[in-house]
Symmetry: C2
Subunit: 294 residues, 2 copies
């Protein structure tokens, strides 16, 4: 089961997930710059440093898609290379559509041998539970995960997600409706591979979500460059036999574009900068875990 693999990896390496976000114009010339080939080389170079150090990577599909079919080829390489290297791959696609089209997306990201095969994919719940079902079926068949947007990390999450839907915030109603799906993807660890996106910029909401869904693993964006600290990022984690546990905390820009990496002209200097940034994020998260355990 995906949930058990994630929990095992998080026990070994900590909760850090490295976001692979090739922002326009920011992939170093060292790797070929802003082309499909550049994105492949850059992504694979990060994977080489992340493998054996962190639990997972999260490629941001939109930043590959902007380069068209070449960008999608780079995404394919990144997913394949990362999985071969033993990293969990969370494809951040935020897809969502009705029946047959949702099946298309699910078979693109979750099926065995899928073109962009990942261990889990992010999906948008706005269109309703029937639109999540094709992802659920692929996840059940192939031991994968489904990551549902609940409370995102951007200011606009206040526009609809945080507003009152029949007595509770919309995001809480979404999580409430996901109950049976959470049960379906529960592993031997007790955790479910029906993950929830719970933005690090909303620690109170994360604690609410944890109460509503005690077994769902969280994917926490917004840590690092988006402004949230480690303690806030793990606000929805809980103390268990193996320490503070509850999902993965994603860092993208702070880990893959640290200043020292952007100014690096030699591969070795870039590698050092990335490795140091990964280690710094892990240390920061670990310190917050220790602080919370006191």
């Amino acid at each position: 089961m995906f949930a058990d693999r994630l929990v095992e990896a998080a026990k070994t390496y900590g909760p850090l997930c490295v976001g692979i976000d090739p922002h326009a114009g920011r992939v170093p010339a060292l790797f070929g710059g802003d082309t499909g080939e550049g994105l492949t080389n850059w992504g694979e170079a990060i994977i080489a440093l992340a493998a054996g150090r962190v639990a997972a990577i999260k490629p941001q599909v939109g930043l590959f898609e902007r380069l068209g079919p070449d960008g999608m080829t780079a995404l394919q390489h990144v997913c394949q290379t990362a999985r071969k290297a033993g990293l969990l791959v969370l494809a951040d696609a935020k897809r969502g559509d009705i029946g047959s089209t949702a099946e298309g997306y699910a078979s693109a990201y979750l099926a065995a041998g899928a073109p962009f095969e990942a261990d889990a994919v992010t999906v948008n719940p706005y269109m309703g539970l029937d639109t999540l079902e094709p992802f659920m079926r692929q996840a059940e068949t192939h031991g994968k995960g489904v990551i549902v947007l609940a409370r995102t990390s951007n200011p606009g999450s206040a526009d609809f997600q945080a507003r009152d839907l029949e007595g509770a915030p919309l995001y809480a109603r979404v999580v409430e409706a996901l109950g049976p799906l959470i049960t379906r993807l529960k592993g031997a660890s007790g955790w479910s591979g029906l993950m929830l996106v719970a933005g690090a910029t909303g620690p109170d909401e994360a604690r609410t979500l944890r109460k509503l869904a005690p077994d769902a693993l969280f994917l926490v964006p917004g840590y690092g460059a988006q402004g949230a600290g480690a303690a806030d990022a793990m606000a929805g984690f809980v103390q268990g036999p193996d320490g503070l546990m509850g999902g993965l905390v994603n860092a993208s820009r702070s880990v893959t574009f640290p200043k020292a990496a952007e100014t690096a002209t030699r591969l070795a200097d870039w590698q050092t900068a990335i490795t140091e940034a990964i280690t710094a994020a892990q240390t920061d998260l670990r310190a917050a875990q220790m602080e919370t355990m006191k």
Copy 2:
């Protein structure tokens, strides 16, 4: 402006939009079957019959994406060929993400010279208004449209969209919040290129949406194979100087996979079947327009 081009095309050809939905296993062997090349050939063959007959096509991105980079190359060919043939292209991608990633998607679908350049793209509002802004900026700069999911045509639209958010259905709150965006994309015709997805299976909701957003063009899915008739599909249209107007009505399976096309072994027979299906849908919609005008 996109809105004016759409209104002009709808006046000339009627409200039919042809959905290009390459469902798994249904692209005829005649064109190469379920491969990137097959999807390109099939899509371009439909475009050749749709050009000069209908206003627009709507490729369903998920059904291209399922074939990976090859499928996305087919999508690229379909978008380019259709625009060259004078058809409006509505890319049905249902994307949605925060700032920089939304910029990635917007530049993939709406920028001038974008890899999958379309005239408009469908987006999901769940993450909030700030996530729509990158699409709005590309639309304003390049005279394109943005199509926001409001009330979709699937049963699951009842799960969240139809529920009460602070005194009105969520989908109505979404449309309410879109007011300033609708104004920003308004053309000389008085109609706005900030379109709303208003499922044909919910005619009452379409009438509600029309009251809330009198100027927004609608994209109406669910007509034909999904079960809704022509009158229901145009429930949100209004009587004006040029007849009943209000957006586009999409038909996919009923027009691109009619029985006679699925059994065709010769290209000419397939072409006849598709042309007849397009004409039948147009006649059906036209009759409902006339009925409503009485």
